[in-house]
């Protein structure tokens, strides 16, 4: 009986996290380069129930009753890397990747991040960086220095200032794209990932990739979540009533 209470509680907690996830998707419905996320849940590993029984001879033995699961848990975070819509803008420092691949940025001193958010700016020292000031990496993982705001980027990622090639965007992808961990700011990191060069990918200047969140899908998910949450609450309530009976009525003389 008590076990069932915790089973239903785990359901409620997990649904709450799923709601947080949906709310984050909805808050980022207009965020450039944002990729929709989903929390995948799975059943807690089943345990075998056994009962100790006695033979006629008085010997006792264990009889297997069956398997039972104890609720639900979060298994993984699924990020859907499907390409968002590309939108034309007027800014020289707006880029979109048409095809697979990620821009490389210096997330912190010793960590490299990967992002599809190409909304960049030129910082005070003339380096190309994200809106949050993280530098964009070019050839040999060196930050891209442009200087002026006037430059042209070819579809293959070559950066030209006054017609002279200055650097080149390094666009990479991974065979194990599902291993990428979101860090926030639409940036992802990977442990032990091997960078793979991309084919047939175009860099578009004065374009941005919009968020790939589908609001309708998220609203439906939200309904599903709140109903599941309610069902779990009902289960706890009815368990509570059963417990009440066994405490207050069973055995009353």
């Amino acid at each position: 009986m008590m076990r069932a209470l915790f089973t239903a509680t785990s359901g409620m907690i997990v649904q709450e996290r799923k709601q947080a996830n949906v709310m984050n998707n909805l808050a980022n419905v207009q965020t450039v380069g944002f990729k929709v996320e989903d929390l995948i849940t799975k059943e807690v590993q089943q345990s075998t129930l056994q009962n100790r029984e006695r033979l006629e001879t008085g010997e006792s033995y264990m009889r297997e009753i069956g398997k039972i699961g104890f609720g639900t848990q979060i298994d993984k975070l699924f990020v859907d890397f499907e390409q968002g819509m590309l939108e034309e803008t007027h800014r020289n420092t707006d880029f979109a990747i048409d095809g697979e691949g990620f821009f490389k940025i210096q997330w912190n001193e010793n960590e490299i991040g990967y992002t599809r958010n190409g909304e960049f700016q030129v910082d005070l020292n003339g380096y190309l960086c994200t809106l949050e000031g993280k530098r964009v990496l070019g050839r040999e993982d060196q930050p891209i220095r442009i200087g002026s705001n006037e430059f042209v980027v070819e579809e293959d990622g070559r950066i030209l200032v006054d017609g002279i090639q200055r650097n080149q965007f390094q666009i990479v992808t991974f065979d194990t794209i599902e291993e990428l961990n979101p860090l926030g700011q639409s940036v992802y990191s990977i442990e032990n990932g091997i960078e793979v060069d991309v084919n047939n990918t175009k860099i578009l200047q004065k374009h941005l990739e919009k968020s790939n969140v589908n609001p309708l899908e998220e609203m439906v998910k939200m309904i599903e979540i709140s109903r599941t949450y309610e069902s779990n609450q009902r289960i706890i309530q009815s368990l509570d009533r059963v417990l009440e009976k066994s405490v207050n009525q069973v055995g009353r003389v």
Partner: protein
């Protein structure tokens, strides 16, 4: 439960801020020389799930940042694209077809950049703009014996006297290294707060733009674009308020556990 309400709040707040920016653009749709402002959205930094008492499977590294926290807006930036040039009846009104800026000197001798000026001759023979600030130019002669009506401006910025065609000055155009670092100081002027490099046009005026006499540059706000953006933003705002409502309902459900 409180943290998930905050996610919805962060969303609503960002869309609110975006609406402010859009309204400002729409209000300035007919302001001469106005450059539209933009604000972008950024996903907030995430946290690990490990400490929240959430049941996690053994395969999931508890240091993975699976807990998201919403969105925020970036700082504002301007869209410096050229606005439409409109013909006026005022022959002293000058606009630039190109990416350069006029320069004027303010009362502290600081250079301010602007896209629209209306020239006139001041009492002491200088060429000044509509607010009485001295226009930066070269080859300047004293203009006190001419009147405003005598002035003629060529496409490359030369100032001539209509009768006789004598050249009395040459407008200097400016091009900042990075327009995003210009600071709007009002009345269509931009200052250079962190003293970045600004190139002057002397000798190569044409590559900085052609001067159009009798024209003014309108704002570069595209009303259609702004309204569409406004509708999207409002709907997104609404959606986030719904998500808060749903989270609130869930909290209520939890509170009703003991009926």
């Amino acid at each position: 439960m409180r943290d998930i309400l905050n996610i919805g709040k962060s969303g609503m707040q960002s869309f609110q801020e975006k609406t402010d920016i859009l309204s400002n653009n729409i209000a300035n749709v007919n302001t001469e020389g106005y450059k539209r402002i933009n604000k972008s959205f950024i996903e907030l930094v995430r946290t690990e799930a490990g400490h929240l008492g959430t049941p996690l499977s053994e395969d999931l590294n508890s240091e993975k940042r699976i807990m998201s926290s919403g969105a925020k807006t970036s700082s504002e930036y301007r869209d410096f694209q050229q606005g439409a040039l409109i013909q006026t009846n005022d022959r002293l009104q000058l606009a630039i077809d190109g990416m350069g800026y006029f320069g004027v000197e303010d009362s502290n001798n600081q250079t301010l950049l602007t896209r629209n000026i209306r020239v006139s001759i001041s009492g002491n023979g200088n060429l000044v703009d509509q607010n009485g600030l001295k226009i930066i130019m070269t080859e300047q002669r004293n203009l006190s014996r001419y009147s405003n009506e005598d002035l003629e401006v060529s496409e490359s910025g030369g100032i001539f006297i209509k009768e006789g065609g004598a050249k009395v000055g040459q407008l200097t155009l400016f091009k900042p290294e990075n327009e995003q670092r210009l600071l709007s100081v009002g009345k269509g002027y931009y200052g250079n707060p962190d003293s970045m490099a600004i190139t002057q046009s002397t000798g190569r005026e044409r590559s900085f733009g052609n001067i159009r006499q009798g024209y003014k540059e309108n704002s570069n706000v595209d009303l259609g674009e702004e309204i569409v953006e406004l509708i999207i933003t409002q709907r997104a705002y609404q959606m986030n308020s719904k998500s808060i409502e749903a989270a609130d309902d869930m909290w209520k459900t939890a509170n009703n556990l003991r009926g």
